[in-house]
């Protein structure tokens, strides 16, 4: 016969482990966001060009694909995630410079808006404890299509397509935030470094898309 005490103890153990992953993820996420804010500031001060930003982004994404998965289960994953987020923050330099010169209010609105959306969606996933794992296929297809549309627009240069891509990115990244938070709560994600990387990328893409959308619709 099953012992109910053992079952309760296992449930508590699993809950404690989930809470630990969640706590560590949010702690590391806030530190990496602060760090990339600092490197973003350096990128703005240095007047980093779009070429330099592209190189920083390529190095960061290569590290994300090839280095982070090999180091995420050890302490070596921490400097790697800081290096990735630092480089991605630095890569924001030219776009921040562009909008700061245009209207600094756009940057602060996009920053605040991103914060509100992230906290709202995370809060929704945490309080409802819904399982959003069913969204995985939909989100990946959406992301793939958006990458294709962005690629196409490099050749077409259509402002309307660029706006549509930004709007869809906001929705897809919102979906990724719900999906990732629910994966942490429901035990689908047990590595806080990988969870941080995923949430960080969603926040970064959300911020960039919101910034471009607000910039396009502003009166300046």
């Amino acid at each position: 016969m099953n012992n109910p005490n053992i079952s309760v103890s296992r449930t508590q153990e699993s809950l404690l482990s989930t809470n630990k992953v969640l706590k560590n993820t949010y702690m590391l996420l806030s530190m990496t966001l602060l760090f990339s804010g600092l490197t973003g500031f350096i990128g703005v001060s240095m007047q980093l060009g779009y070429g330099g930003a592209l190189i920083a982004d390529i190095v960061a994404i290569a590290m994300l694909w090839f280095v982070l998965p090999r180091t995420a289960n050890s302490a070596a994953g921490i400097p790697v995630i800081f290096a990735i987020t630092g480089l991605l923050g630095l890569g924001l330099g030219p776009i921040l410079n562009h909008y700061l010169a245009m209207n600094p209010h756009i940057v602060t609105t996009a920053l605040g808006g991103t914060g509100v959306i992230f906290l709202g969606l995370s809060g929704y996933a945490l309080t409802t404890r819904k399982d959003f794992s069913f969204m995985a296929g939909f989100l990946m297809v959406g992301f793939f299509v958006v990458l294709g549309a962005a690629l196409l627009n490099i050749f077409l240069g259509m402002p309307a397509l660029a706006l549509a891509v930004d709007a869809v990115i906001i929705l897809i990244m919102s979906g990724f935030i719900l999906f990732q938070t629910s994966a942490i709560i429901n035990g689908g994600e047990t590595n806080y470094i990988m969870a941080t990387a995923s949430l960080y990328l969603s926040i970064l893409n959300l911020f960039q898309a919101l910034l471009q959308l607000l910039g396009a619709f502003s009166d300046d």
Binding site: Y50, G51, L54, D57, I58, I61, W65, N103, H105, I106, T109, A110, G113, V116, I117, G120, L121, Y124, T128, K130, F132, S133, F134, M135, A136, G137, L139, M140, V141, F143, F144, L147, G148, A150, L151, I154, F155, A167, I170, L171, S174, G175, L178, L210, L213, L214, F217, S218, D219
Partner: protein
């Protein structure tokens, strides 16, 4: 077309190549959502759309 556009295009192609197998895997193995699940998703997504419209009106 300058080297920056070529670099960006190559970067996007590399991302698509990297994402494609993950997309196939997700489509194959991810659980399917019920209509109730999708309705539950509508609430936060509509809230995000409304909030973004509000931000656009503010700038």
């Amino acid at each position: 077309m300058d080297w920056l556009e070529i670099g960006s295009a190559l970067f996007l192609v590399a991302m698509m190549v990297f994402v494609f197998p993950r997309m196939r895997q997700a489509l194959k193995y991810a659980p399917k959502g019920t209509s109730q699940d999708w309705i539950g998703l509508l609430v936060p997504i509509l809230a995000v759309i409304g909030f973004v419209i509000l931000l656009i009106m503010m700038v």
